[in-house]
Amino acid sequence: MIGYLLRRLLYAFPLLLGINVLTFILFFVVNTPDDMARMHLGQKHVTPESVEKWKRERGYDLPLFWNAKAGGTEKVTGTIFYQKSLGLFLFRFGRSDDGRDIGADIGQRMWPSLAIAVPSLLVGLLVDISVALLLVFFRLTYLEFWGVALCVAAMSVSTLFYIIGGQYLVGKLLQLTPISGYDTGLNAWRFVALPVLIGIVAGVGSGARWYRTLFLEEVEKDYVRTARAKGLPEPRVLFAHVLRNALIPILTGVVVVLPLLFTGSLITESFFAIPGLGSYTIDAINQQDFAIVRSMVFLGSVLYILGLLLTDISYTLVDPRVRLG
């Protein structure tokens, strides 16, 4: 297994390099260094000289990929790509274009993202699986029909509606939680409760339907028939036997997103004024801060690859037949 993991880690390098190049190209297709300079220098009294100075100061006056005027290795190293992107492989995020330390910001902002994402995922998973198993339990009854219909209706509604509706109902009409905001430490629970609840409710439609499909596949198998023939009660058949055997596809969907919980949710963080990494990324895109954008894309890619790796490892834990080699 160790050999497999090492091999996967080595595969990750060209993958990350490719992502880096792609991010770099996409960013600079849309924005030129001149655009970035103007954005940071403001809209008034910006002279061509000050734009040039800004670019020179921050190393954006170099060619993008190939420095034809330089000699030797500097043809490669004297470029924006080399100087701005390759340090990421050592997790040196550097400073944002407005001068803040990106590593420090990420360290600070990942906790609010996690405070929302982790309970939303765990409780949401519990609820989704429970509802899905109940639907399977009541299959071929009117309860299943209406349950699935409700799920379809719930998944057809936009997340934004759940957020605004939830804020309106719980925060404004019932006045039970703050409408938005965040606090540190234990006090955070007051602000986290509503977005987590909304996250769970918004996800239950699609989640329950997906898991129901997985469980329905399992309940027709021989071992289930055997379990029933043994006289096991149906809840036990479903929650002990079927659930366990359906874990592989569940893990595929869940473990892969675990590392991505760090990167936060854009809409939720924005509407609830949660200072997480989701809003950090979108702010950077709006402010054309390439330093932050490349760092967040890189971080997201690393975490995604890590998630895939964890998924593979988790297979071996839930299914003894799986061997990584």
């Binding site: 001149d34 002279t47 407005d98 803040r100 006045q175 039970l176 609840l197 004024a273």
Partner: protein, 729 residues
């Protein structure tokens, strides 16, 4: 077979509910309205709550230039002058200065000239600034000294640095008196090669020696091996600034530049102590985001004690703030409006100001209605809920707002939004009469009144020229209308008819929108920034306006970057843009059409690339005159030239609408003064009462929802029971 228990699936499904109920129990146990987003211990305190949508980019006074940055640093840094809070038209008064600066003139040989010397004789202007002697810097670790008199935190060891996460981790603070050297240090910082002050280039053209200093600094800084080490500016001389004594400095400018007095009211010219610069330059602090750009050090009414731009920023009263009293003079109606109730009382009133991150308008508005924000602007989402128009067309609050004792303040911004013609364009540009007629015809057709009504909820007034109301030279009423576009009828300006516009168009060579020479329809191109789906209806509206004349309008939408690039290259034909005043002087608007400021080739702010020698001559005479009859006359002549040539469709001046609660007082709109927080007052007790009244949690639906859940589960339970009791056959 006994029926198996059905224990855990419903219990699991109920877990969120149980958790929710437990959490409600906790909330109820707090004894505070559970929707209160602030700590309970702050209830009733003298705190102002406001918000920020995105973190300010810079809090360094040499770099900051946008409104959201000024909202914070203007409370902390004190330039020599400020705008009188209540007086209109806007006028300057001393802040850190003891009096308004005395301005004298010298010829090119440095010999004194009389105050009324002709401009062409003036080689230099000298601003003589006397500072107050009772001004001290806020408490700050940069000033802390040990027993031996050495700065305690100017050489932090790696071990000490490891303990520091925020500025508050350095417990000892110090202070010292403000001196003229602090102003000199800041002016030198404008030329610092690493700071990129937005006004550095411009000021280098005015302040004697600043350009030379800039070059010397760039050379010396560039040759340093380690650029992260503090670059001490004190040894560098600046020819144009003379320190007469610790409380007096003279700033020498090239030529005559009366607008310099307005710059002296902006944070660019606030004092900066070298100790702060040296302190923040220590390696290791920047990696913790402890920099001068994030932790300002000033002498103002407030000081920053918490700066977490990811979540919250906090200002508290500066304990060393100098003597300043609430003004006793304002506009005639200020007493009746209650703005003079605090006259003569010591400033500031509010103890703490909390800026909370709030990115969306809907939650902000709801929290404002709950009393958790003290004031709110009006977004289109909530406009109809807050404002209704009376029979006379006046905006007033809806009954719901009135019942909450919410106040409405409106003010016309010192802003001009316009649609410009690229005067270099072969179709719409040029100074000939035919082209002017084409532009005037379009100006008539683009119905700004309709635009304001449809897209701005009536929040704006149509522009009659370049100048917004409130500036010297603006004329109200019949004499102030644009006679090419409006007639005066019934005591108000009335837009000329489309028939007249068509007539102009025909005279311009495009009868019914067809080119008389080629017989082809006239096709024009509008370059504009479109950022979202809302823009579509606006752009369609523009197409319809041009369509009234038979002109086909092609929309070329782009992002702001590309738009700017097009403007720089002169590739746009017609465009939309706007300008916010830097300072309340007509020069700051007319320079937008001065030939030497053309965008193409010169990179200036004259985006229309309008170059009319007649206008330029008038501008050059007007810009440096003191306000008076001569200047007024020149301004009217300039307006007349611009109205005739019509390089812009003079669009509109936006009107700001702002709401505040009754407990938030002294809030008079002042679009020039950024340091207004010190005048504001909060009645914390009244706010607390209102919050308690408006925020009574409603618990009754919860048991109802629980019953509903039980009702929903019952059929499931019955099916379950039936199934468990049934046999296989």
């Amino acid at each position: 077979m006994p029926a198996p228990s059905f224990p855990w699936p419903p219990v699991r499904a109920s877990l969120p509910w149980l958790g929710f109920c437990f959490w409600l129990f906790l909330l109820a146990a707090c004894g505070d309205p559970p929707n209160n987003p602030y700590p309970a211990e702050d209830n009733g305190k003298n705190i102002l709550y406001t918000s920020f949508e995105e973190r300010p980019k810079h809090l360094d006074p040499a770099r900051a230039y946008s409104a959201n940055e000024y909202e914070i640093i203007a409370q902390i840094y004190e330039p020599p002058l400020q705008y009188a809070y209540l007086k209109r038209p806007y006028q300057l008064e001393p802040l850190a200065a003891a009096e308004l600066p005395a301005v004298s003139y010298l010829d090119r040989n440095g010999q004194p000239l009389p105050a009324n010397a002709p401009e062409e004789h003036i080689g230099y202007s000298v601003y003589d600034i006397h500072l107050r002697s009772d001004v001290r810097f806020q408490p700050h670790p940069a000033f802390a000294k040990d027993e031996a008199g050495h700065y305690r935190y100017h050489a932090l060891s790696p071990e000490q640095l490891a303990q520091v996460q925020t500025l508050a981790d350095l417990p000892e603070t110090g202070s010292r008196a403000l001196t003229a050297e602090d102003y000199l240090y800041q002016i030198k910082r404008l030329a610092h090669p690493q700071i990129h002050s937005p006004i550095a280039e411009m000021m280098a053209g005015y302040i004697v020696g600043l350009k030379d200093l800039s070059e010397r600094l760039a050379k010396d800084f560039g040759s340093r091996a380690d650029k992260s080490v503090w670059f001490d500016l004190r040894p560098y001389a600046l020819e144009g600034v003379e320190i007469v004594d610790p409380h007096r400095l003279k700033i020498r400018l090239h030529g005559k530049y009366p607008q310099f007095r307005f710059w002296l009211a902006m944070p660019f010219f606030a004092p900066l102590p070298w100790e702060a610069d040296a302190f923040y330059a220590q390696p290791g602090l920047a990696t913790k985001n402890i920099t001068l750009d994030w932790y300002p050090v000033g002498t103002g009414a407030y000081m920053m004690t918490e700066n977490n731009p990811n979540r919250r920023m906090m200002l508290v009263k500066n304990p060393h703030y100098h003597e300043e009293r609430y003004p006793a003079e304002g506009e005639p109606e200020d007493a009746a409006r209650g703005y003079l109730r605090d006259a003569g009382r010591k400033l500031p009133f509010i103890d703490r100001v909390v800026f909370v991150l709030e990115k969306e308008t809907i939650p902000y508005w709801n929290k404002f209605l709950q009393g958790y924000y003290d004031a709110s602007s009006l977004a289109s989402d909530n406009f109809d809920q807050a404002i209704q128009f009376s029979g006379q067309g006046n905006a007033e609050l809806t009954p719901d707002m009135k019942s909450r004792d919410i106040r409405l303040q409106t003010a016309v911004a010192t802003t001009s939004m316009y649609m410009g013609f690229n005067m270099l364009d072969p179709v719409v540009g040029g100074l000939g009469e035919a082209r002017a007629k084409l532009r005037r015809a379009i100006s008539i057709a683009v119905d700004e009144e309709e635009f304001i009504a449809i897209f701005m909820n009536g929040r704006g007034i149509p522009a009659q020229g370049v100048l917004p109301p409130g500036l010297f030279g603006f004329v109200k009423g019949k004499d102030g209308i644009n006679p090419y576009i409006y007639d005066w009828a019934g005591g108000e300006p009335r837009r000329k008819s489309i028939a007249e516009a068509k007539q102009l168009l025909a005279e311009a060579g495009y009868p019914s929108g067809m080119d008389a020479r080629t017989g082809k329809p006239l096709v024009l191109y509008l370059d504009t920034v479109a950022s979202g789906p809302d823009d579509k209806s606006v752009l369609n509206w523009y197409r319809k306006q041009f369509g009234k004349l038979g002109i086909q309008l092609v929309l070329r939408t782009t992002d702001y970057n590309q738009f700017q690039q097009k403007m720089l290259n002169g590739n746009a034909q017609i465009f939309r843009w706007g300008w916010n005043a830097d300072y309340p002087d007509p020069e700051n608007f007319f320079f937008l059409l001065y030939g030497q400021n053309a965008k193409v080739g010169k990179g200036g702010e004259n985006a229309a690339n309008y170059q009319n020698p007649e206008f330029d001559r008038l501008f050059e005479r007007m810009r440096n005159l003191e306000d008076g009859p001569e200047r007024f006359r020149l301004i009217q002549e300039m307006q007349a030239v611009l109205r005739r040539d019509a390089p812009w469709v003079f669009g509109l001046h936006p009107k700001t609408f702002s709401l505040s609660h009754a407990w938030y007082q002294n809030r008079k709109p002042n679009l020039m003064a950024n340091n207004g927080l010190k005048y504001l007052r909060i009645d914390g007790k009244e706010r607390e009462e209102k919050r308690a009244e408006w925020n009574r949690p409603v618990y009754w639906p919860l048991p109802f929802l629980a019953l509903l859940a039980v009702g929903a589960v019952t059929p499931a339970w019955r099916v379950y029971r039936r199934r468990m009791r049934s046999t296989a056959l």
